[in-house]
Symmetry: D2
Subunit: 344 residues, 4 copies
């Protein structure tokens, strides 16, 4: 089969022929890829930023946001059958540790992460596990939802954790309306009656945010905090979802909070730095957010099938992986890039 | 009446005669003080550290941890009567804002704080509000519980928020076993089956911690993190309660956490500084903690009456306020100092 | 002033002149009534069904769902001023008991209930307490929201308690789409992504339900349970909100549940009767629901101001209270009847 | 191997030789039984009460509360190895359905239940699944904890669900201090500071309850409700855990509740029958309770290893299964009967 393979760091991945994956364990599932999302993390992988953390051996296949059709299953698989349309939870988890037994797949102590530390989905086929496949509603196509597998799932997970804090009359500030943020806005609009204030540097992103449910938008050209405070009766937001997490949003996000508010970190790159007296005197919280659970992904697929969450995408054939990466790196990619192997 | 009054910053407060307080509002309550806790914050007030924040006019009476007997009540007071033994919630809250209506007295937007921004309880009498008085069980004496009003309440509040995270088999690291920490340990032992690991520089404090329910103690002479990791299967604690919050415990406390763990900030003076990638990749939380609610104080008094929480105290007559402060400042005060006006 | 007064049970209330109410306590608030909802409970009061429970002395003024404008306030009132537009929480609570201090106004141990056990709002003026008044957004008129004060608040409270159970992909069955039910449907649609299945005997009620957000409607002419099971993959609903609670819906509602489901009782008149083996083998819950909290009412007003919750009403002048009651009793009243004293 | 087999309903099971179980699936685990609890349900099975519900084919092996040592594992098992000491969660669950993915093993849609619907643990060996085995602390012996696998797990699960309701100052009434109840009392004492009131007909049971942590005991010879009300300031208990659920405790348990209280059904045989007006006017809840989750069992084993939960047991050799059953049926069995195959 064809696959997008990384042979050396700081070199462009190549599209080449590799053997088809084969079932080796009782719970293995082989999926014919219908769409594989391209993500800024893929650029970072190529740059070698993840080399040490994952210890992955080169060459290997990229692609960690995948959806497609089940082609073959191991002998113990009972939840899907060949032909089923599926989206893939990014982790292949063990199902036996305390975290898995509590539903917190993302904290599994024995997981692997296709596309990050083993062969991923920028290929015609991918091997994953029975615990990672979520069956799709007939109305959903792999190419349309693939990027919800990781970016969307992370945004949904953060928004869902914030729901109990966002009763009617509250304010939620969303910092960054890009790949994750524009999903987060849709999730908030679907699941709460909070007033959504979106902060971004890009006018186009703010325009899109409004169409997706933002009640207020704030241009982040200058310091956006005063405007957020003004929009929130001078008190600040009850929840700040920071999808950027670097270049100053970490400090701004905290300053946007009201007493007893919660700052949700989703994006990364910078650092949170807060005097402890400020943390205790206002009793604020800093909440970390990773990718969501299997059930979170199932719920997000329900929202997608209901038309409440839509991705903005641009498709490329698998052979064009290189140009897709250049478009992403060069800022020429509007919406999410999706690689589509030849096929259906 | 006699009162401990601050006339100028950086000068020792004096004990002098002032007029008795009088009922002026329908919900006022005048309390004859049976015990008023002395706290490091009192030293900071004298040093002028709070001058700008509170804007209090000098001279005024110190003392923000108070218990005693109701002497007189305003015409609309129905919950206590003269003669009742009471402990005082530190805030006099409005009862009408959203926070008060949700039970979160400490986030009241219109509160005053006797001893901090108005006359406090290092005096024979104090005027507070009906919303601040908690009736005491007959087994409890004001002098024995006064310091639970603020220090103890803060420790209880933090421990209570941690309960849902501390199921059997979890580890809770307590950093600092002093005035607040030794109450926190007792609350954890009363309300959870978690294994309690106490970290402190003082051998005496660690000894006391063991008697109060700590399962493990770690001397903080060198970096205590490796020993905490060793005691927690190499994974770290599920919850860290940091009663110090300065001089390096902020960084150590975060390093003591396991994946999905929560670092509770109670003490202050330093700063939390964490790269956002570390916050999201392990999905940890930083949780601010202020003083507790009125109902929290009522619950803490139940634990005190059950004998599950005991304060270690040393009493001084009101006239000896100066020596008490010198003892505290000079590190010669074991346990909590309590000023006791002449009387019962 | 004019007021609708009940002089004897089983006799029609009369509209007569009574003295204007006067401020007697520091927290009293006198409200000029802009709308007072008429409710089936008023008919039951006239029939004497509540006589023993409330022990109210006749004659007295009816009307327990009230909104209007503040006319005069007691000396200790700080949260509203004459001229403010307000809706009234149905209870005048004490603010000092454990329930009030936890925000659960409806469990106050020392409350009174205007219109039920003391003079109500079918009059030009009503005296209530500072703790009961919620300021209205300028876009809202008393006549439009008055019936949200009790009926709407109860429906909101139940829906809000169900939110954590209603993640995307769940089913919520609403039994009864009348005065409370049609508010409940709007709250569910505003606050969850659950699929809403409405069960009612009336075709008109089901039509309205669809317009308000119901995804499926089931005519309750025959046993509706099979159709609900069919709409829920044969498993039943995750939550059933029963706004009827009599005439068989109690048994049907429980049969509509899936494993681990929750049956919310809101309406009353019948009885819940379930073998304990059925309760434990499926681990279901029966959840009681009373009127909501003060903060609940504030949140519901936010939904009303956002246009997400609208009442269907018909207004009558105060003088026409008798005909309004006859219309309600005779089934000729579509939507909620609102009495409007002459005025603005 | 030897096994206790049921050949016909209403006939005594026989101890006979059957083939040893064999590994057939990748996740199978064969356990050498160290202790198998005898339970009233076993008597009901023999009487045929479960015949229709389970559809099990006779003959088969009884025993649904099991602990022992791993003897052999299937090729995909990674969490235990031969020689490990283990207790068995009663269900063999699928790990793939929504309930399993949320940690709610007991609501698995595809489970089997050894000893109930397939061969159980009153034998030398039992075959279960990798998802059912919990490794034991070296301090725990299978024979001592076997009966915690089902009876104890159910009691722990109910107590754990009640914790958030049982803050200091609350009352928990425990109805029935038998096999499940005496575990429930220990769990409450370990995990809350609530005052525990135990109601039972047996003086011996009440004596034991006191030793295990009950603060008050009430003899249920006459109607126990007035005494419970008296012990709870006339208001009733915040939580009632009913481990009987028949013969009148269903009605008494509800009458023991205070406003906003919760009645937990654990035992069964009777029926809950409450007018809907009583449910809504006091806003009470009825909470069903089934056996606990896998993680619950792991937590309960922690409490056992900490010495906070102890079972009262009497052991029998496997050959004496018949006499053990007669002792249980005849009321001659104090504590829990445990069958112990010859061995270690």
């Amino acid at each position: 089969m064809k696959a997008v393979r990384l042979h050396a760091y700081d070199e462009r991945p190549v599209v080449e022929d590799v053997p088809d994956p084969r079932i080796s364990g009782p719970f293995d599932v082989i999926v014919e890829i219908g769409g594989s999302g391209l993500c800024r993390t893929d650029l970072h992988i190529v740059e070698g930023q993840w080399a040490e953390k994952t210890g992955v051996s080169l060459p290997y296949t990229l692609g960690h946001e995948n959806a497609g059709w089940v082609r073959e299953v191991g002998p113990a698989v009972t939840n899907v059958a060949p032909g089923d349309t599926v989206i893939l939870h990014p982790l292949v988890s063990c199902g036996l540790c305390r975290s898995c037994r509590a539903g917190d797949d993302m904290h599994c102590g024995n997981s692997r992460f296709p596309g990050i530390d083993s062969d991923g989905g920028m290929a015609e086929y991918l091997v994953t596990g029975a615990r990672s496949v979520v069956k799709l509603d007939p109305s959903l196509q792999p190419v349309d939802v693939a990027a919800l597998a990781d970016a969307g799932l992370t945004a949904y997970h953060a928004a869902k954790k914030a729901i109990p804090l966002l009763y009617p009359g509250t304010f939620c500030a969303v910092v960054g309306s890009g790949g994750l943020g524009h999903i987060g806005i849709q999730c908030l609009a679907a699941l709460t009656a909070a007033e959504i204030i979106v902060v971004d540097r890009s006018t186009a992103a703010l325009e899109l945010a409004k169409q997706l449910g933002a009640h207020h938008t704030v241009a982040a050209t200058a310091d956006p905090v005063p405007e957020v405070l003004q929009l929130t009766d001078g008190q600040g937001a009850h929840v700040v979802l920071d999808f950027v997490g670097e270049k100053g949003t970490e400090a701004q996000g905290v300053r946007m909070l009201r007493r007893a508010g919660s700052y949700f970190v989703v994006g990364y790159g910078g650092a949170v730095n807060i005097p402890t007296i400020d943390i205790i005197s206002t009793e604020i919280n800093v909440v970390g957010n990773l990718v969501g659970t299997y059930n979170d992904l199932d719920e997000l697929m329900t929202l997608a099938a209901q038309g409440k969450v839509r991705l903005h995408t641009r498709t490329y054939p698998l052979d064009a992986a290189g140009s897709a990466m250049e478009d992403l790196d060069g800022g020429r990619l509007q919406g999410r890039g999706i690689l589509v192997p030849a096929g259906r």
